[in-house]
């Protein structure tokens, strides 16, 4: 079966986010009044697996091995059948 996973990798809370700060400034430069911006990355991954649980396990492994660095990142995975 094919599943579509949405993986969001974001900095741990409290971790300084220089990219978010830069985006915040840029938005303020465009004339908005923005208080706070945090940047995260979203990966959309299509994957074949026998069950949704297996797909979740595989995605979790991918996150630990490549997509997130445990020292600074948290990740969330949502899996749906396609």
């Amino acid at each position: 079966m094919r599943f579509r996973a949405r993986v969001e990798v974001k900095l741990r809370p409290g971790f300084f986010d220089p990219e978010g700060e830069t985006v915040k400034e840029a938005l303020n430069d465009l004339g908005y009044r923005v208080e706070n911006v945090r940047v995260s990355k979203v990966y959309t991954v299509d994957i074949d697996a026998t069950t949704i649980d297996e797909a979740r396990l595989l995605l979790d492994e991918m996150c630990r091995r490549l997509l997130a660095n445990p020292t600074k990142d948290l990740y969330e995975v949502e899996v749906q059948p396609l």
């Binding site: 400034e25 840029a26 430069d29 465009l30 004339g31």
Partner: protein, 786 residues
């Protein structure tokens, strides 16, 4: 005809002028009525109507961006003169008259090429990317750098340095004054700087030279100049394409991004541009281009190819047409072989797409397999998409069906554009009115040092990698105090001490007062900056950014500036080797400030002899060379005092003598430091030499050689051209003065160990007295706070 894809025949033959113009607009090809009529006549002769692919091809090839209609056209002046081909009459004629044997290729290839040493040559190109950067600053600036790097790769040169010159509106511009569709200078500034750094840093090409200017005239029209310098072995400049050679398209896939970039660049920005033009901006991928670079250099070194060109404006349509035309042959291209990002693209879209990071390589058929091997090893995609042919026609197929078949003679002889130039007397500004001399010149000096045009650009320069490749011998920021330098020096060959010297000249604030003296001053400044570090045998690049040339006042000032280029280049006996113009820079706020960027590329036989601007030894005498005149029109001093009048600095024939004298003095080792007074005049230049070193200076205005009598403040802040400030070795004054014989020069003071900058007036009273660390912090920190 029943075809398995969409293609349209466009009825030109049966159309009147109104319909012709409608077609031009609807297809987005930006051609005028006369050009459309000319096309109609051609197809009448062919006995058929054109396809959409053919009309697109013509639109791209004849765009201002690709063909430079204005520079190559006919200019009629309102006082009855006719200039036939401004480019040939003024710009290109300099190199023709001087005919230097060290020019390898000028104005004919993707980049200008001059000789270097040990069988190597230097290739250099500077481009504008104003329109895309105004719409999408990050992507526009990044692809500007990417494009100019491909120009250098497109003459088989390996890039060694990037150049960027940017002009913005004031960063504190009032938001409420911004017209709809125009983005705030601060937003553009951040995005453009980030885009330039992104591309150069990712590709590992050091950004070593440039400038940043601020002027109200850039609020509606931001200006982005991107340059690249490369080197190549002279005998590897492969260009011998023959009929039968294969056409290989290499690099990124072709997509819908960047369609109609060139016609977009050749029209004015309007409120609608912001949304409508977004697809015209391309997506940068520097890593793809880095892989391309590797492959191209390997193909070059193995001597496998017969020609190369980059895909820039006009995409495949321009690249194949221009290559075939250059080698006096034709080409047949099969569009279905092109690797696509989106399989549903129509033939004309494939043909004109300006997707980035693509190059066209021509190769004898027997070498194609080896080339493909190299490309595969570098993880690059490629496709053999056609052949060069005997007949001088450009033939385009899609799935075997002919979708375009054009005579190259027709395609490369568009009707000459005719422009009208309004002639105004260019007096170079008005005489000054009298105003009281400010009491406190120390605080005026500090205000000047913190003016955005003068203040350190360190906060930007440090985001550009200027050390990668390990070739940067003289850096954009000097020493541990990060002082200013006049030019960068690259040492590209491990086996030779020879260096490439890069500098630029740009004078936006003079442009509105006198386009003629603005252009002449830019050339003087570029040459002087080069000389200051020891650069010689300069070659120049010209990049014009102007308003709509179809408006006679804009055309008039453009013609003036072009004439000045000839005048100034002849004075220094320096050829133009490459250039690019960007016209139609108009916005709801009016035309862009007329701007000419001059890039100078010099050489220095031994980088160990290079000189920097920072003072070196306390006790050394300081000399000024050249005359200071009452020329403050457009000066930073008048800007901060809000004085609107004044004469713009002139360039006199006697200036031609100075560079060779300075170079001789540098080579004989008597010059310890050298700097050119420009914005802010002698006072700012001296202050910079102090703040870069930590040493002080004691100087006397009464000793400054003057062209005419004037007040002390004008002596200090005049921006007269053709002047140098030098620190002379203490025991070598006599030798130095012998070298300067016959040229105005005078000792104005000494370098001091005590870190104070002291200036005395005519009567010996103190005019300026500032601690050097205060100068340093003022200059260094003015732009860093956001």
């Amino acid at each position: 005809m029943d075809l398995p894809f969409e293609i349209y025949e466009v009825d030109l033959i049966g159309s009147n002028d109104d319909v012709l113009m409608k077609i031009s607009i609807e297809m987005g090809i930006g051609l005028n009525a006369e050009e459309m009529r000319y096309i109609k006549e051609y197809f009448k002769g062919e006995g058929r109507n054109p396809t959409d692919v053919e009309l697109q091809t013509i639109g791209q090839t004849w765009s201002e961006h690709c063909y430079h209609k204005t520079f190559k056209g006919i200019v009629k002046t309102t006082d009855g003169r006719i200039v036939d081909n401004m480019f040939r009459s003024y710009i290109a004629s300099v190199v023709k008259e001087l005919n230097p044997d060290w020019c390898v290729s000028v104005f004919e290839d993707n980049a200008g090429i001059v000789d270097f040493v040990d069988g190597y040559a230097i290739a250099v190109k500077v481009e504008t990317h104003n329109h895309p950067s105004a719409i999408e600053p990050f992507g526009g600036a990044a692809t500007g750098i990417g494009g100019v790097i491909r120009d250098v790769l497109g003459v088989w040169a390996d890039p060694i340095a990037n150049i960027d010159v940017l002009c913005f509106g004031p960063l504190d511009y009032d938001y409420s004054k911004l017209p709809p569709g125009v983005k705030h200078p601060r937003y553009l500034f951040k995005g453009i700087v980030a885009g330039i750094g992104y591309y150069g840093n990712n590709m590992g090409i050091p950004t070593v030279s440039g400038a940043i200017c601020f002027d109200e005239g850039y609020v509606g029209n931001v200006v982005v100049y991107c340059g690249c310098v490369g080197i190549l072995p002279r005998d590897r400049y492969l260009r011998k394409v023959r009929p039968g050679d294969s056409v290989i398209l290499v690099g990124g896939r072709t997509g819908r991004d960047g369609i109609h970039g060139v016609t977009f660049a050749s029209t004015e920005l309007t409120k609608e541009s912001e949304e409508a033009s977004r697809p015209a901006v391309q997506i940068p991928n520097p890593i793809e281009e880095e892989k391309l670079r590797r492959a191209i250099i390997r193909i070059r070194d193995e001597g496998l190819a017969s020609g190369i060109t980059d895909l820039g404006g006009g995409g495949l349509s321009s690249a194949t047409g221009e290559t075939a035309n250059k080698y006096n042959c034709g080409a047949v291209i099969e569009l279905s072989k092109v690797k696509l990002k989106d399989p549903n693209m129509r033939p004309w879209e494939i043909w004109v797409s300006e997707s980035q990071e693509r190059m066209l390589i021509a190769s004898p058929p027997q070498n194609v397999a080896r080339i493909m091997d190299i490309l595969d090893e570098e993880d690059l995609e490629a496709a053999e998409i056609g052949r060069f042919t005997e007949p001088r026609r450009l033939k385009v197929l899609y799935l075997g069906y002919t979708v375009a078949d054009l005579s190259l003679d027709f395609l490369f002889s568009p009707p000459r554009a005719v422009r009208t130039a309004e002639v105004k007397e260019d007096e170079g500004g008005e005489a000054d009115f009298d105003f009281a001399m400010p009491n406190d010149l120390s605080s005026v000096l500090l205000r000047l040092l913190s003016s955005p045009n003068i203040a350190s650009k360190e906060s930007i320069i440090r985001t550009y990698d200027h050390e990668v490749k390990g070739m940067t011998a003289i850096k954009p920021l000097q020493g541990l105090r990060s002082g200013p330098n006049d030019a960068a020096v690259m040492k590209p060959l491990p086996s030779s001490w020879a260096g490439v010297v890069l500098s630029c000249g740009i004078k936006p604030s003079y442009g509105k007062l006198s386009p003629y003296w603005m252009a002449a001053s830019a050339i003087d400044e570029a040459v002087r900056n080069n000389v200051c570090v020891g650069g010689r045998r300069w070659a120049l690049l010209d990049n014009f950014t102007w308003g709509n040339p179809e408006k006679p006042d804009r055309m008039g000032s453009l013609l003036k500036a072009v004439e000045a280029c000839y005048y100034a280049a002849k004075i220094f006996q320096v050829p133009f080797i490459s250039g690019k113009d960007s016209l139609y820079n108009e916005s709801p706020l009016g035309p862009v400030t007329p701007t000419l960027l001059i890039t100078a590329v010099g050489i220095i036989p031994d980088v160990r002899k290079a000189v920097t601007a920072d003072f070196k030894v306390p006790g050394d005498p300081i000399y000024v060379i050249g005359l200071t005149r009452r020329e403050l029109g457009g000066s930073e001093y008048y800007r901060i005092l809000n004085v609107k009048s004044g004469l713009v600095p002139r360039l006199r024939p006697s200036a031609g003598e100075l560079p060779s004298r300075i170079i001789r003095a540098i080579d004989s080792g008597v010059i310890m430091a050298c700097h050119d007074p420009s914005e802010g005049g002698l006072a700012v230049a001296l202050a910079e030499m102090c703040l870069a070193s930590g040493f002080g200076a004691e100087v006397h205005t009464s000793n400054v050689p003057l062209g005419e009598p004037m007040r002390e403040d004008l002596v200090l802040f005049s921006e007269s051209n053709s002047r140098f400030i030098v620190e002379v070795k203490a025991n070598a004054e006599e030798e130095f003065c012998t070298l300067m014989e016959g040229i105005p020069h005078a000792k104005i003071g000494y370098v001091t160990k005590s870190p104070t900058f002291l200036v005395y007036g005519f009567d010996g009273k103190s005019l300026v007295d500032v601690n050097v660390d205060v100068l340093w912090k003022t200059w260094r920190n003015a732009l860093t706070s956001r």
